[in-house]
């Protein structure tokens, strides 16, 4: 290991001696200074998770959240210099974190929060003009095989729990007032769609979310409809078209 790797590894561990060869400019103890630096790095990463997962933190309380986040930071140090993406595997960590197992909806709630950030920072793309889509109506057989490309900022969430309601309740000034009305065991799905600089979260049918996921993975129009649970197709399409979410299509040769 190079000195640099050695330094980085010790920085991201809970213990470990100060890497050799460090000197303070004024001759003070480098071990103490290194400990301060290490603590700041850890705390900044926990703060980053708290920024991305505010509702998850609100559900757990700050103390529990930060203790869990500290373990995550140790297990999954950053792999990218982009701090906004840090914690994309946090929902999976939450799912497998035994002390949080009493809140089975928590991992999906965290997924919703990460997808929100991903939608916010995703690339721009222009919507396909409606006239181009209308042109597809001329040939119903070709339409069935068309493959739509969707906007990079589009995200979906599907959960067995009412995580969308939970998230929305936390956007109000006084979440406690509406939390009691949520039946957590009612599954929900949502579409995250960026309009200008704002990410909107729209509740949709689970089938519509499946349909959109299939389109995103490259399925043809007819196959995507077939493989989803029943849903209102024209509603789902209207939502996508209105949100400028269809950016391109290809016809089968």
């Amino acid at each position: 290991m190079s000195d640099h790797d050695d330094f980085a590894a010790t920085l991201l561990s809970d213990t470990g001696d100060c890497p050799p060869g460090l000197r303070a400019w004024n001759g003070s103890d480098p071990a103490q200074r290194f400990a301060v630096y290490r603590n700041n790095v850890t705390v900044s990463l926990i703060d980053a998770l708290a920024d991305t997962y505010p509702v998850t933190q609100a559900m757990l309380g700050e103390e529990f959240f930060r203790a869990m986040a500290r373990l995550y930071v140790r297990a999954e140090p950053p792999r990218s210099p982009v701090l906004a993406w840090y914690g994309d595997s946090f929902p999976d960590f939450v799912q497998g974190f035994p002390p949080a197992s009493g809140l089975p909806y928590l991992a999906d709630l965290a997924r919703l929060e990460m997808r929100y950030v991903q939608a916010y920072h995703a690339a721009d793309a222009s919507a396909l003009p409606m006239a181009d889509l209308a042109g597809l109506l001329a040939d119903a057989n070709a339409l069935a095989h068309v493959r739509f490309s969707l906007h990079p900022a589009l995200e979906t969430v599907r959960s067995r729990y009412a995580v969308v309601s939970l998230w929305i309740a936390h956007q109000g000034q006084t979440p406690a007032n509406s939390l009691g009305e949520i039946n957590l065991d009612l599954g929900e799905a949502a579409l995250l769609i960026r309009q200008g600089l704002e990410v909107e979260i729209v509740r949709i049918e689970a089938g519509a979310a499946q349909f959109i996921d299939c389109l995103r993975s490259g399925a043809s129009f007819a196959d995507a409809v077939h493989s989803a649970a029943p849903f209102d197709l024209s509603n789902a399409l209207a939502l996508l078209i209105r949100g400028g979410a269809i950016t391109h299509f290809t016809l089968q040769e």
Binding site: M130, L143, V199, E200, F221, L233, S234, L237
Partner: protein, 98 residues
Amino acid sequence: MNKAVTTTSLALALSAALAVAAIPMTAHAAEKDKCFGVALKGKNDCKAGAGTSCAGTSKVDYQSNAWSMVPKGTCEQTTSPTSPTGFGQLQEFKAKSA
């Protein structure tokens, strides 16, 4: 499963969707006002995630240059102790001293 989907029904759905989408948007985003001075500490609505400078960064309650999206028309009815009018405002304002 939607095994009964026919090519005709796909075309009908797209056609209906295009008709609906042609009507101007009345979704909630269009009905909201940016309201200054009503966000509680750390609860302003600019959510860009970690590493950005604006998510949840208002440091004092009712900070006058921090805004939240509120249902249209309700901003100027929301109490704001820092506002000279006593309510939220649609523009940034200079906080009165408490």
